[in-house]
Each structure stands twice: as C-alpha cells, then as structure tokens.
C-alpha cells in the first residue's frame, strides 16, 4: 500500500515551515483542529488570532492585517468560507489584498458529515472573483509545496483541502509543483484526463484500466484552477484530441467549467466532465460517496471512452 495522508495535514505542516517569516499570521474560526492550523497556534500563539465561530469577521480581520503588511492565512471548512463570500469579494479580492483562505473538508469525499459539510461549489464561486488564485491540490506533498509558495504570491488565494487521506504522489518531486502549472503524471496520446484534488489518484487508476484495453491516457494534475494552465490544455487538445475532466465538485463552474471555457475559445477537443451532477450529497464513507456520486475511476474510464468516441 502506498503512503496515504490528508492534504489538510500538508497545509498545517506548511504553516509551520513558513513561520520563520515574521509577517505570517494565522486566523481560525474554531476549526483549527480540523483544518490543522492549530499546529501553528500551539507554536506561535502571538501570531494566531482566534475569531471564534465567525467567518465573516475572520476574512475581514485578515484583510485589515494584509493591508498593514502581514500575510494572513485564514482557514475553516470549505463550506463555511462560503458564508463569508461577500467579504472575500468586497473586502479581499476587490482591493487585491493577499489574504490566503483555505477551505478544508471540501467535496463529497468529506464523507459521513453529510451534505451540509460537503462543499461542491467552492471552486466555482471563488473562480469568479477577479484577482483570486484558486487551487485544489491532490496530495500531502503538493499541498505543502503550494502553501509554502503563497507568502511570495502577493495575491489573494483560495485553496481547498480534503479531510480524508489520499495517496501521496509527489515525494521527491517537489520541484515540479508550481502555482499555475499543471503537472503531467502520465503520458498517452489517445485521451487526456485533467483532474484535481482527490480525483487525481482516481484518474491514475482509470488510466490503468484504460491501458488494459490498449488505450493510452495522459493524466494531468491541474492543482491550480485559476490562473488556468491554458498552454498545457492547448497541447493536450492537440496531442490527444479528446479530454476528460474529473473533480469532486459540481460539474457547473469548477475544473470542468474552466477547461470547457478554455477549449471552446482556443484549440477545441471533445470534452467529457466527471463531477457532481448538480445535486447534493449525503452521509457515507469517502469511497461510497465517490461511487454514489459517480466520481471514481470506473466513471472516469467510461468518460474517457465517450470522449474518444466523439473524436471527429
């Protein structure tokens, strides 16, 4: 069994590793134990600000800190960040203040907490905000590396992390992880699967299933949804001629939406989207949720077959 770890732990570790930067401050809304920002709080209490259960205040307190030269990292569950969406829009994105918002427990993979906790729209809504960089890393190492790059970003950002463990893929490959650059994990010329977050490892499994049938798939980890790596998508459209997107997120507005927007205005290729079919989830284990929401490797493989069949 390969190493497993949760991306939220990568976030928590990254905060410790960037703590030498005295401008880094951490804000939390009573979920530091869950988002893993509590490690920073335990070690650097003076630079940790408890906002109680008050996400709107947290986002704007962070904005005030950013306007005063600090580099705030604010976290809560992805779903609860949405309560402060207008604060993110008007108080952070509009004045272009480098507040870094992390929403953990994103997607239906979150599991047994049920649909109230399973944000399926966070990536879509933050993607609509000018100035905001949107990320959804797939594993512990890439979450760690991407978070460590944020203090130098000088732009607001939103990062979704996941509650439950996923395979660790990037040990020893840290240098490949750069904000805004998709990572090609596997090369093939028949179809390209572009995935983010917990469905990257499912996409790798799908590629294995396809290989057994003689179909060679490229798999890309598109950890940054905005700015989107359009050059990479153009080359995938040219080389493979058929594209699948895979995300634990509504098919409306997320990675699939972003790739579709790019394809129809650039080099076109048929696209099949694997994602949450515009419905809410329910309580279930992560693997059960990926099955019931039709997100796992089996469904990605089927989508790849459909995309290939649509090649002209």
């Amino acid at each position: 069994m390969s190493e497993m770890a949760a991306t939220r732990d990568g976030y928590g570790q990254a905060l410790l590793e960037i703590a030498d930067n005295a401008k880094v401050v951490v804000l939390e809304a009573d979920l530091g134990k869950s988002t893993k920002s509590l490690h920073f709080k335990n070690k650097y209490p003076a630079r940790s600000i408890s906002c109680g259960i008050g996400e709107q205040n947290m986002l704007l307190t962070a904005a005030g800190l950013a306007s005063s030269g600090y580099i705030p990292f604010a976290s809560t569950f992805a779903i609860f960040t949405e309560r402060a969406f207008e604060q993110m829009r008007n108080g952070v994105a509009r004045p272009d203040l480098a507040v870094h918002l992390c929403g953990s427990h994103g997607g239906t993979h979150t599991g047994t907490d049920g649909s109230s906790a399973q944000s399926i729209e966070d990536l879509a809504i933050y993607r609509t905000l000018p100035n905001v960089v949107v990320m959804h890393p797939s594993d512990y190492v890439s979450t760690l590396e991407l978070t460590k790059q944020l203090p130098a970003l000088n732009k607001p950002s939103y990062m979704r992390t996941a509650r439950n463990k996923t395979p660790v893929m990037y040990r020893g490959r840290e240098s490949e992880i750069v904000i805004g650059k998709g990572i090609t994990l596997r090369q093939g010329t028949d179809v390209a699967i572009i995935a983010c977050g917990v469905l990257v490892s499912e996409s790798m499994k799908a590629a294995e299933l396809l290989a057994e049938k003689g179909i060679n798939a490229t798999v890309v980890d598109m950890h940054t949804l905005k700015p989107l790596d359009g050059d990479l998508i153009d080359s995938l459209a040219s080389q493979c001629g058929a594209i699948v997107t895979a995300e634990d997120h509504n098919v409306i507005g997320g990675l699939g939406g972003a790739v579709a927007e790019h394809l129809v205005t650039n080099k076109y290729a048929p696209l099949e989207m694997v994602g949450v079919a515009d419905r809410f989830g329910e309580s279930g284990q992560s693997d059960e949720m990926l099955e019931v929401m039709k997100l796992n490797s089996k469904y990605i493989e089927q989508a790849a077959q459909r995309a290939i069949a649509r090649k002209s």
Binding site: A46, N57, L60, T61, A62, A63, N90
Partner: protein
C-alpha cells in the same frame, strides 16, 4: 493640528458646502449621512489623526476606516481640506476614472485605507489593522466610523465580540446615530433598542455625545484617545442632513441629489455665495 472650536466649525462648514456640491454635480450620492458625520470626521482629522497628507502610505499613520462608505462625500471633503487630494479632485466624484469613487476605495483615492461599499465590513477590517499595529508594537490607532442602520448587520457583532475578546485598546469606533437608513427611519425598519447597553454588554467602553456640538465632539474624541485597555465606542447623536434645512431628518435625502432650486437654497443656508 490645534484648532479652536470656531475654526473647527468653519472647517466643517466648508466640508458641508463641498458635500452638497459633489452630490449636486453628480446628481447622485448620499448627502444625508455625509452631513451627519461631517462634524465628527472634521474634528477627528483636524485635531487627532496622526497622518502625513504628502505621504499617505506612511507606515505608522493612524487608520481611518469609513465603514459607512456611501457617506463618501464627507470623507472626500475632509481629505481635500487636509491636502490628501486637491479640491479639483472633488469634481471626480462618481465620474469615470475619478479618485472619488461612489464609495471610498483604497485603490483609487490617496488617504483612503479601506475599500468600502458593503455595510458591516469596516469594523472587522479595522480590527485587523488594530491587531497588526499591536503586532508591530506601533502606537498607531485605528478609528472606524459606522452607521446606526449598519449595526443591523450581524457581522458587526462578530467584530464587536472579537475586538473585546482580544482587548484591542487601539481600536476606536464612532457610531453616527442619525436615526435614518435607506428606506425609512431606523425605528420603522428595525428597532435597535438600547444601543449603548448592547455595546457595553459586548465588553466595550461607551460614551454618548451630541455629534454636532463641537465641544462635545472634542471631549468624545478625548474619551476615545484615553481608552487604551479595551475597545471604545463613541455614540454620536446626529441629525441626518444636518446643516441643510430640507435635508434634515428627511429619509428622502439618504441617497438623493438636490435639484437646482434646492442646491441654491442649500448654498445660501451654508453661507456659500454662488458666483
């Protein structure tokens, strides 16, 4: 800056003239809340704010957050009087490309430290500025102006609770209690009952004054400056539209411009001769 009471009153009168002119030229904007807040902001900037108009981003400046950002003409008039912007810039109010955006915006106007426009946001932002000052071991203070209708926003109370919890003594709030909001009198829209008791219950030091009596305004600002162990709020009882008879206590002038005739009357009442 040391100004006498009569000099402060003259400072505010000149600002009132500019407020009415801005809204008249734009034929849009918010005169009522600008006129109710203006004595307070005038005294604050002219006698308390540690700022450098020729160096608006000076790191250790006091911060002023106009949370009721629709009352921007009041702030623009003061910024012009202080020399952050030229009086000519006041002609850019609500004009494409202008420094004086409809709601005060830190990306557009020198001397503005908060991009306002959505109520209930400035107090939290000011809290962040105050926490930053404390982390910096800086003496700078953060002043936040909020409206009375604005405290109907729940997020104000998130911020109020957090500021008291963190004992942010360098955070000072002025509440412009003008009793009118967009659609009607506050009493009709959402009764707020005992506002001072609410803030006290949240852990704040509270003082009430007449926000148009310059001597009381000065003693109120003394109170804010002297309270350093916990956040403090000055509840200023004001008159919406103060200084222009037909705008006073008139909900219609929350967000409406005077016509030609009304403009001439306003200038007359404010002692301004139209050339």
């Amino acid at each position: 800056m040391t100004l006498s009471i009569s000099e402060l009153e003259e400072f505010a009168r000149k600002c009132r003239v500019e407020i009415v002119k801005m809204v008249y030229r734009a034929q849009a904007g918010h005169p009522g809340g600008s006129l109710s807040e203006i004595d307070l902001i005038s005294a604050l900037y002219a006698t308390r704010m540690r700022v450098r108009p020729d160096q608006p981003k000076w790191e250790d400046r006091d911060r002023f957050i106009l949370s009721k950002g629709h009352a921007s003409p009041g702030m623009y008039a003061v910024l012009a009087e202080m020399g952050f912007i030229d009086h000519e810039d006041l002609h850019s109010y609500r004009v494409l490309g202008g420094k004086c955006q409809g709601h005060v915006d830190m990306k557009w106007c020198p001397g503005v430290d908060f991009s306002a426009g959505s109520l209930g946001m400035g107090l939290s932002f000011g809290l962040g500025c105050a926490v930053a000052a404390r982390l910096d071991n800086s003496e700078r203070r953060t002043f936040v102006m909020i409206g009375d209708g604005e405290i109907q926003e729940g997020s104000v109370w998130e911020a109020a609770m957090a500021a008291a919890h963190h004992e942010v003594g360098n955070l000072k709030v002025i509440l412009d209690r003008n009793r009118i909001q967009n659609d009607d009198f506050c009493e009709a829209q959402m009764r707020m009952f005992d506002i001072p008791a609410k803030w006290r219950a949240f852990g704040w030091e509270v003082k009430e004054i007449d926000g148009h009596n310059m001597e009381e305004v000065m003693s109120g600002l003394d109170f804010l400056e002297a309270t350093n162990d916990k956040p403090a709020i000055l509840i200023a009882h004001t008159i919406k539209g103060a200084g222009v008879s037909f705008m006073e206590n008139n909900p219609s002038f929350h967000g409406a411009a005077p016509n030609d005739e009304q403009f001439a009357q306003a200038m007359l009442e404010l002692g301004e001769v139209i050339v």
